[in-house]
């Protein structure tokens, strides 16, 4: 028996969220497997505002209850995100799984979340009484720990509209389908007038949260490709020093080697 509240408006959902102890449910592909005993769910799949993909001047706005399949079929969603989405699990899971659920589950293995990290996405959160926007990397506090109040819901992912065209994406799973990421990597590169303006690299599934080292990235900004190439060895060394990875289904050593190889490959792809 599953107990819960099925709501059709956001106001209603936020009201229940603030007055009851409920587990937000959008897709349920993780929750159904967990099969927690004695909890009540708040079913969010029927709230129209959460099921839309829209855009404004700055962002592609993806509702928390938008499924991966829906996003894959939407022209507004950038290719980088689609690369990650199309390798999630299998069609049935992609038909049900949602952006909000991927975030709310709190895992560093979440494939859509990696893209949100590397692209500096923001999240719109709301409770009955207030709304706020938070950077995705601030939202993740630690392993399965999120900056999400007991009374709050995730409403939207705000994905930057520009600057995501030159990228690398890699997912290393245990097999070609229905595989949880063992290592995932996303990198974004941009340049202007011969100088690097962006060199973002994010690593998923290798630590408690997605890893990204913005201070290291900054050391490359404003450099020419030539200069970056000279710095490359030292740059990679700094990453290797900083990355303390966890042992999981595969060893920490393996993960580290893969991360470094993929980072190196990303740099090489853009001439560095």
């Amino acid at each position: 028996m599953v107990n819960g509240y099925s709501v059709s408006s956001l106001a209603e959902a936020l009201e229940i969220r603030s007055s009851h102890s409920v587990v937000p449910y959008a897709g349920g592909t993780d929750l159904m497997v967990e099969n927690r005993k004695g909890v009540e769910y708040l079913f969010l799949g029927k709230i129209p505002e959460l099921r839309n993909i829209t855009e404004d001047d700055e962002y592609i706005r993806i509702g928390a209850a938008v499924t991966f399949t829906q996003a894959l079929e939407d022209k507004k969603v950038p290719d980088l995100m689609k690369e990650a989405l199309k390798r999630i699990a299998a069609p049935a899971i992609r038909n049900a799984g949602t952006f909000g659920g991927n975030l709310g589950n709190g895992s560093a293995k979440a494939d859509s979340v990696l893209i949100e990290f590397v692209s500096d996405a923001k999240l719109r959160l709301a409770s009955r009484d207030k709304e706020r926007i938070v950077d995705v990397d601030k939202f993740y506090l630690g392993r399965k720990k999120l900056d999400l109040g007991e009374d709050e819901l995730i409403l939207e992912v705000l994905l930057p509209k520009t600057g995501l065209d030159r990228y690398s994406y890699e997912k290393v799973g245990g097999r070609n389908a229905l595989a949880i990421s063992r290592v995932s990597f996303a990198g974004i590169f941009d340049e202007k007038d011969g100088r690097i303006t962006k060199l973002a690299a994010a690593f998923g599934a290798v630590a408690d949260t997605v890893l990204r080292y913005k201070d290291l990235e900054e050391t490359m900004l404003g450099k020419t490709i030539e200069e970056a190439r000279e710095l490359k060895e030292k740059y990679l060394e700094s990453y290797a020093e900083r990355m303390v990875l966890t042992q999981g289904r595969v060893s920490a050593e393996y993960r580290k080697n893969v991360c470094m190889n993929l980072l190196g490959s990303f740099l090489a792809k853009f001439g560095i």
Binding site: R175, A177, Y254
Partner: protein, 707 residues
């Protein structure tokens, strides 16, 4: 294609795909008690006592003291207890069962049981395990002389890991006391009569005191050969004590951690070479049997008989042992000892060839056995060995020679390719004199007044299609439409013992009995009358009697043959490999149903590729299996081998129905060697010697090469 090979819709297709089939877990729960096992949490200990929580009315605690007969499950030896004696020998060993009407309450009571252990140091590493359950020696020729006269000798060690059957339906059995004191046991199983014998013994009753029925079974792959005998005894003992039906269905975690898996192996091979040919093999095979002997004797026998491969080696010495460790007992799994030793010998031959500067394929071809040659046990290959033609088929289909040449060139990019090949047999039917001396299969046909014919035999359909292929054979001989012939899941109360559903024997052995029975019925057919005919197994005249004490004679009357090629692309940045193509030529004689056989070949081949690559299972320092879920133990999906090309090569066996031989196990056996040989080539010609070879192993090898 022969008429008998033409595919029909499987008899159980509609109920299975529509979800109407009743599996053991599907019977209504009213009046049925749920049983849950109290498993040992330590690998080796004396049990000082169990503190059982206060049981509510209607709940029961069942243990060894409740076994009315013998607390030993009859498998090959009798060392496996129904419930623990005064010790536990592995994590998961069943100490007791809690039974009661409410599943959650049963789980709570079970979890509240406190077992007081006096722990002992467990033996976990089978390399250093000293206790041998089984120890066999055999051979022929003069091995010492061949080594003394050799130009060159080789020595190498090969290792393989566990493999989990990962059937869709977990283990589950149910026992129902019947009027007059008879016990009815049914569930997910391969061998109704094995369970029959075991339960009789546990209950201390005669053959009519118990009957066993196979329910619709969601896959076995060998995993339901012996284990249901143990679980069947447990639920029967519980039902006897409770006086009510008791059902125990494992959850996936229990199933993966505590039930039998493929034996991990360690094979040491020494080879003598003279004038470019292998003149002698000195082989030492060690299997990790786990805590109890279960089926290890027969798995080991099949493994060591195959250990010289399909090569004509004049001097052979084989030593095989199955050692005890404090881990889950290993048992039957498709291939039954063959995958381990064929992996070793195929890799060895390939390594020797390369050391001698030869292509492995040419080197192997120069050693192939042929019709009339002696087998490893001084029996005879009585029938043509079609391997050379099958090699040609696989070479052509996979473009093997061009690719092999191309990929041998230095590769430097991120992605590197390799292709490898293996060749092997699977001995069809029971090893040795089993069919003649132990099984003595009997099968019957019953014709009803309305002209329908029922097959009475004890072989269970576990997805391999015997509910369809047996009726096809009988209908063909009787010139009846297929709808008129039917075969239900066996119940030992109404069918004779035609033997277990194992060893790729059902179609070849029992199918032939049914074919002969059908001919007999045809000859005496009388319209409108009920009639019954019976057939008994008779060993073919050509068979050279087998003596297990000496390992001498025909271990098998005939062989199914196969050649596999696997082409890989390795990502040297991540260690992940992509199977670009898997090509197999399989000779299982005449396919009695083309689709059924192709399904078996493709499924088995894919399972073998999983065994070679991603299916890794291990225990920790305490002896606990860690990979106990389907997200921790991955098996390949269809997306992992999109190009899987299976071909049938038909070399008919005159004593099988229409020329059919054993089919089920063959396709799994050779994949690891083909996969690893491809991997070796992709990684620049290094030598590898263990399977599975995972992405981690691959990356480690790449890093080593880079330095």
């Amino acid at each position: 294609m022969e008429k008998i090979s033409q595919s029909v819709v499987k008899k159980d297709h509609a109920p299975k795909v529509s979800g109407r089939s009743i599996y053991v877990a599907d019977y209504p729960s009213e009046g049925v008690l749920c049983g849950k096992l109290l498993h040992s949490k330590v690998a080796r200990a004396k049990i000082l006592g169990v503190e059982v929580p206060k049981l509510p009315e209607g709940y029961f605690y069942v243990d060894a003291r409740d076994v009315p007969g013998d607390n030993n499950v009859n498998i090959v030896l009798d060392d496996t207890p129904v419930f623990s004696r005064d010790t536990v020998e592995y994590i998961g060993e069943p100490i007791a069962m809690i039974c009661g009407p409410d599943e959650n309450e049963v789980a709570r009571l079970r979890d509240e049981c406190r077992v007081n252990y006096e722990e002992m140091e467990p033996v976990l590493d089978f390399r250093s395990a000293e206790e041998k359950f089984f120890d066999y020696h055999f051979g022929h020729g003069d091995v010492d002389k061949a080594f003394a006269e050799a130009d060159k000798t080789y020595e190498e060690e090969f290792e393989t890991g566990y493999q989990e059957q990962a059937y869709l339906e977990t283990q589950g059995m149910m026992a129902e006391p019947e009027e007059g004191g008879r016990m009815f046991v049914h569930g997910s199983a391969q061998c109704a009569y094995y369970i029959h014998g075991a339960v009789m013994r546990a209950l201390g009753c005669g053959p009519t005191g118990v009957h066993i029925k196979q329910d619709v079974t969601g896959g076995g792959f060998g995993g339901k050969e012996a284990f249901p005998s143990i679980l069947g005894c447990q639920v029967a003992v519980a039902a006897r004590k409770c006086g009510k039906p008791v059902r125990c269905v494992f959850d996936r975690r229990e199933d993966m951690e505590y039930t039998s898996k493929r034996h991990p192996s360690l094979c040491r091979y020494k080879a003598a070479v003279r004038d470019g040919k292998v003149t002698a093999l000195d082989i030492d095979v060690k299997f990790n049997a786990g805590a109890y002997s279960t089926l290890s004797a027969v798995v080991l026998q099949r493994g060591i008989i195959a250990s010289p491969g399909i090569y004509n080696i004049p001097n052979v010495r084989v030593h095989g042992s199955a050692v005890k460790t404090n881990t889950s007992p290993c048992g039957a799994y498709r291939g039954f000892g063959g995958p381990q030793t064929f992996f070793a010998v195929e890799m060895l031959m390939s390594h020797i060839a390369r050391d001698l500067g030869k292509e492995p394929l040419e080197f192997k071809k120069a050693h192939l056995v042929k019709q009339g040659d002696q087998t490893s046990t001084c029996g005879k290959y009585h029938f043509p060995v079609p391997i050379p033609e099958m090699i040609d088929e696989v070479v052509k289909e996979s473009d093997f020679e061009n690719k092999r040449r191309e990929y041998a060139k230095a590769q430097t990019g991120r992605y590197r390719r390799g292709i490898g090949m293996s060749m092997y047999f699977h001995g069809a039917g029971f090893t040795g004199a089993g069919e003649r001396d132990l099984i003595k299969a009997v099968a019957k046909l019953r014709k009803y007044e309305d002209g329908r014919v029922e097959i009475l035999a004890s072989n269970g359909d576990i997805g391999q299609g015997v509910r369809t292929t047996f009726p096809k054979i009988v209908a063909n001989e009787l010139n009846l439409p297929l709808e008129k012939v039917f075969y239900e899941h066996p119940d030992t109360a109404r069918v004779p013992d035609s033997g277990p559903t194992v060893a790729s024997r059902s179609l070849m052995i029992v199918g032939e009995l049914l074919r002969r029975a059908a001919i007999k019925l045809r000859e005496q057919w009388k319209d409108g009358e009920e009639q019954e005919v019976e057939e008994h197994y008779k060993e073919p005249d050509f068979v050279i009697p087998f003596y297990i004490d000496k390992f001498e004679g025909d271990a098998y009357p005939t062989y199914s043959w196969a050649v596999n090629a696997i082409e890989l692309e390795v990502d040297t940045y991540t260690g992940v490999s992509k199977v670009l193509g898997a090509y197999g030529s399989f000779d299982v004689g005449t396919p009695v149903d083309y689709n059924v056989v192709m399904g078996q070949m493709e499924g088995g081949f894919l399972q073998g590729i999983g065994y070679a690559s991603i299916e890794k299972m291990d225990y920790d320092s305490k002896g606990r299996i860690r990979n106990n879920s389907l997200s921790d133990y991955l098996i390949p999906t269809t997306k992992d081998v999109p190009k899987l090309k299976c071909m049938l090569h038909v070399e008919k066996y005159p004593d099988g129905p229409y020329g059919a031989k054993g089919a089920g196990e063959l396709p799994l056996v050779g994949a690891p060697a083909a996969y690893l040989e491809a991997m070796e080539q992709a990684l620049g010609g290094i030598e590898l010697n263990h399977a599975p070879f995972t992405a981690e192993d691959t990356l480690r090898a790449v890093m080593k090469e880079v330095g």
